[in-house]
């Protein structure tokens, strides 16, 4: 078993408020191997973006890391100072964010931004950097790449901008890329293109990708493995198809069931209600005792309200649920 490229162990992130410290991420562990795409899925407030920011070292006050380790190729990176972290970002760890318009500086040409990033991290002369930039643009599918180097971001469409952001993220050949909702702001037909591109670049370079999203469809297309987050914890991980088809954790089950799907709508003649999880994710200042999901869980037992279930690995998967830990069968009555 090779050392995973990126390892997060028992990460804990707290947010300071005047009412006390809130725990945003609690005892989170995950790992991504070479050339692997790990999807991190969860709804708003689950903490997936904070996790990505913690790895990138971009946590802003009042949030701060208070526990755990983050390792890149076996070396700790969470205790580096600001200067070392800055050098790490871009060179070893790349980032792709949701809004390409906000990720690109509107006042600089694309070529300038690419060349700037390349020359900052790699010690190569400017014209060679420009060559590299042009080749990268061609690789991400921008037509007439050499001319495009002198364009400004606002002259291009959303899909093209996101491709350029991908180019920026990969330009220094990083080992890990954190992609936070990279396709959410794009049209459906462009989403498919960008997902394909991301997969291809990651495979060819052996980069580990952490793909954060709330869109299960994107996960199904792009991720090899998936981690489901709820209220700051990972409640289930496993190979994508396993988690999608036979989820272990009741929350994952409820989530998969409540996604409207065209196939199901076609089968379902009577237009029955969509199965749904009642209630909502708890706020950080009102986390329930025991398992954070138990108030909404259709199969909660008494133990769930008292003790928090630890994460229990089960082969290549795992879940944080007493029913999973006790080896209870996966058969759960369908909710709704």
């Amino acid at each position: 078993m090779t050392t995973p490229l990126l390892q997060v162990e028992n990460l804990r992130v707290e947010i300071a408020t005047r009412h006390g410290d809130l725990v945003a991420i609690d005892d989170l562990s995950l790992s991504i191997g070479e050339g692997e795409v790990l999807g991190v899925v969860g709804e708003s407030g689950a903490g997936k973006s904070i996790t990505g920011n913690a790895i990138l070292g971009l946590l802003e006050r009042p949030a701060r890391k208070t526990g755990g380790r983050i390792l890149l190729e076996g070396r700790r990176i969470d205790d580096l100072d600001e200067e070392e972290m800055r050098r790490l970002r871009g060179r070893q760890i790349g980032a792709v964010f949701q809004d390409p318009l906000a990720s690109l500086d509107p006042l600089m040409t694309i070529g300038y931004q690419l060349v700037q990033t390349i020359t900052t991290h790699l010690d190569i002369p400017r014209d060679e950097a420009r060559e590299r930039a042009a080749r990268l643009l061609a690789e991400v599918g921008i037509p007439a790449p050499r001319e495009r180097l002198d364009s400004y971001p606002h002259e291009l469409s959303g899909g093209m901008r996101q491709r350029i952001v991908l180019a920026l993220a990969f330009c220094c050949e990083p080992r890990v890329v954190i992609a936070d909702e990279p396709t959410t702001a794009l049209d459906v037909s462009v989403q498919a293109q960008v997902i394909d591109l991301l997969k291809r670049m990651c495979r060819e370079r052996g980069t580990a990708v952490m793909l954060v999203t709330h869109d299960m469809g994107v996960i199904a297309e792009a991720a090899d493995r998936v981690a489901v987050m709820y209220a700051g914890r990972v409640v289930e991980t496993g190979p994508t198809m396993d988690v999608l088809r036979a989820p272990l954790h009741p929350y994952s089950r409820g989530l998969m069931a409540s996604i409207p799907s065209m196939r199901r709508a076609a089968r379902d003649r009577a237009r029955a209600d969509l199965p749904m999880i009642p209630g909502a994710m708890p706020r950080l200042d009102a986390l329930p005792r025991g398992c954070a999901f138990h108030p909404r869980c259709p199969v909660a037992i008494a133990r769930c309200a008292r003790e928090r279930p630890p994460f229990v690995p089960a082969g290549s998967s795992g879940g944080a649920c007493w029913l999973v830990a006790d080896g209870a069968s996966g058969e759960v009555p369908a909710h709704a």
């Binding site: 408020t17 005047r18 709804e43 708003s44 407030g45 689950a46 973006s49 904070i50 009042p62 964010f97 949701q98 809004d99 936070d180 209630g279 909502a280 994710m281 708890p282 706020r283 950080l284 009102a286």
Partner: protein, 314 residues
């Protein structure tokens, strides 16, 4: 990008306003407390001037010319105590300063109030209706803002002097001054409000009101106005200091408040001539009061801007 989590039910009773974030930030900021206290005290002094000032200096006939230019802590010919001295006309400095403060605040607040009212109304119309209305108002604003404030005030003052006889002009001095200063300040409000309205008018809650069929006037004043007042408040607070200083400057130049009524600016002017003869208190004390007032208002305005800025708030 952080999203508000799909939280459990909101608390049943929102915290009382005195426990809210705004007050919490206020009591934690020494600058806010000190500046607010200073301004509050000065305001109270001004409001209760007739009860606080030892002498009523509004009537020039009451002053004792014999007691002119007495230094602080002296006693006059007839036994009057002058804790801060007297001016060349024999008026008690302390009382003159308190009444002068009153005038300054009256003119300052009045001018800002008038400028804000006009500016907001014009900004609302300009931003919401656009087109010709917007073009006309904004061009007027452009023309207006190319003149310095003092010049406009001088212009208005000059015109009214020629149109009215001296007695009427003196009686109406304060309203004219308010109008003159307001005339130069309305542009900022109009521009800022216009920008904010341009953003707000496309937001869905305004569209929802239009779909429902709410009257346009209602939309402007009940929906949009409350949402644009925040930045306006900050501008107003900062402008207050400027307006007060403008009045002082005009009075110093001799075209503001007539010399018979006490004003901090005219006191500084009068005292200027005697500065080098050693009678420092006539100029420097009202000047000092002006500084304290402006500083207090400015600091409070600064803090208010940061406190009301939603981006800086976590």
């Amino acid at each position: 990008m952080s999203e508000t989590p799909e939280g459990a039910d909101a608390p049943d009773h929102p915290p009382a306003w005195w426990r809210g974030d705004f007050v919490h930030g206020f009591v934690r900021s020494p600058v806010a407390i000190v500046s607010a206290t200073i301004v509050a005290m000065l305001l109270l002094l001004a409001i209760f001037a007739p009860f606080v000032a030892p002498y009523d200096v509004r009537d020039p006939a009451k002053a004792n010319v014999v007691d002119a230019r007495l230094p602080p802590r002296s006693t006059g010919m007839f036994g009057d105590q002058y804790s801060l001295g007297t001016d060349p006309q024999g008026r008690d400095m302390l009382s003159a300063m308190i009444y002068g403060l009153r005038t300054s605040l009256l003119v300052g607040l009045g001018a800002i109030g008038l400028a804000a009212a006009c500016g907001i109304a014009l900004g609302l119309a300009s931003g919401y209706f656009g087109g010709t209305i917007d073009a006309v108002i904004m061009r007027a604003a452009d023309v207006q803002s190319s003149f310095p404030a003092i010049l406009i005030a001088l212009l208005i003052d000059g015109i009214t002097r020629t149109l009215m006889d001296r007695a009427t002009h003196e009686a109406l001095a304060v309203p004219i001054l308010i109008a003159a200063i307001a005339a130069s300040f309305w542009v900022q409000y109009a521009r800022v409000v216009r920008g904010l309205v341009l953003v707000e008018r496309g937001r869905e809650y305004v569209l929802a009101a239009r779909v429902t069929g709410v009257r346009t006037v209602s939309i402007l004043f009940r929906h949009i106005l409350p949402n644009v007042l925040g930045p306006v408040l900050v501008i107003a607070t900062i402008n207050l200091a400027l307006a007060i200083l403008t009045e002082a400057t005009l009075s110093f130049l001799g075209v503001g408040i007539p010399p018979t009524q006490p004003s901090l600016g005219s006191l500084v002017r009068i005292g200027n001539e005697f500065l080098f003869s050693g009678d420092w208190w006539i100029s420097l004390m009202p000047g000092g009061l002006l500084v304290v007032l402006s500083l207090g208002v400015n600091l409070f305005g600064d803090w208010l801007r940061d406190a009301l800025n939603p981006r800086l708030a976590s």
